[in-house]
Amino acid sequence: MSDSDPASASSRTASEKADFKRELTEVVPHLRAFARGLCGRPDMADDLVQETLLKAWAAQERFEPGTSMRAWTFVILRNAYLTDMRRNRFRGEYDEGVAERILTAPAGQEEPIHLSDLHRALLTLQPERREALLLVGAGGFSYEEAAEICGCAVGTIKSRVGRARATLTEMLANGNIPRRSTDDDAAHRAILEELDEVAAGNLSSAKP
C-alpha cells in the first residue's frame, strides 16, 4: 500500500499540474467558508486554509484528477482543524464583526432570523454536528459525500445533521441562544469545555 513509487510521482503532465493549481485556486473561497464555520474566527480560519493549501500542494500526487477538489481539500482542512483543536489553538470564539457585516445581507423572509443569532447558535453545537451540518446544509454536499469527508458512516452523518438541525431549531425558536461571547461567560465556558472533551476523545452523548 505504499504510494512512494517515484515513477508514478513524476508521471503528471504539465497540463495536469496546471489543472491541479487552477482547481486548488478555485476552491479557496469554499475552504475559507468551511473553515470560518468550523472555527468561527476569521483570522484563525484563514490560517487554517493557508495550512490546508500547503498540505494539499505537498500531497498533490495523491489527488485523483477528475474527482472533487473541494471534497479532497475539505478532508485535509478538517484533519488540520482537528489537529489544531487538540492543541487548543481554536476556542470556538465568536466574531462579532463578521456577524454584523453578514446581517446587512438581504434576508428575504417575512420573519427574518438574525444571521448573527444563527452563527452564534451554530458555534455552540458539538463540533462533529456543526461540521456535518456545515457540509450538508451550507456546503451542499450529499450525505454520502459528507460521510466520505468525515470518514464515517452515512447514517452517522444523517444522525449528526438531524441532531444539529433539531438543536438549532429549538435554540432559535426559544431564543435560547448564548448572548455575545464576551458578556456570557457561562455559555462561553460551556463551549470551551465541550471542545476539550472532544479533543480528549471522550465526548459523551449525555448532553441535553
Partner: protein, 74 residues
C-alpha cells in the same frame, strides 16, 4: 475568469421540511465564498509554483519550512 463555479441549485420544492433558518446557513457560507480573496492568499498561491511538492512532502507536508523556498522572500 473561469466560471465553472456552480451556483447552488434553487431550493424551491424541498422534499423534506427545511427549518426556516436553513437558508441563513447557506447565506453565512456564501457570504464568505463571495468575499474578495485577501492578498495573503494571492501571495501564497503565487508562491506555490516555486515549491516542489515532492520535497515538501518529504518534509512532512510542511513546505513553508524549506529554507530554499523561503529564501526568495526573505
Amino acid at each position: 475568469m473561469t466560471s465553472d463555479r456552480k451556483p447552488p441549485p434553487p431550493r424551491s420544492g424541498q422534499p423534506e421540511r427545511a427549518p426556516e433558518w436553513a437558508d441563513g446557513l447557506k447565506q453565512l457560507y456564501d457570504s464568505v465564498v463571495e468575499e474578495d480573496l485577501p492578498d495573503s492568499f494571492k501571495d501564497l498561491l503565487a508562491k506555490l509554483d516555486e515549491i516542489d511538492p515532492k520535497r515538501a512532502a518529504a518534509q512532512g507536508g510542511n513546505p513553508s519550512q524549506s529554507p530554499d523556498d523561503r529564501g526568495a522572500r526573505r
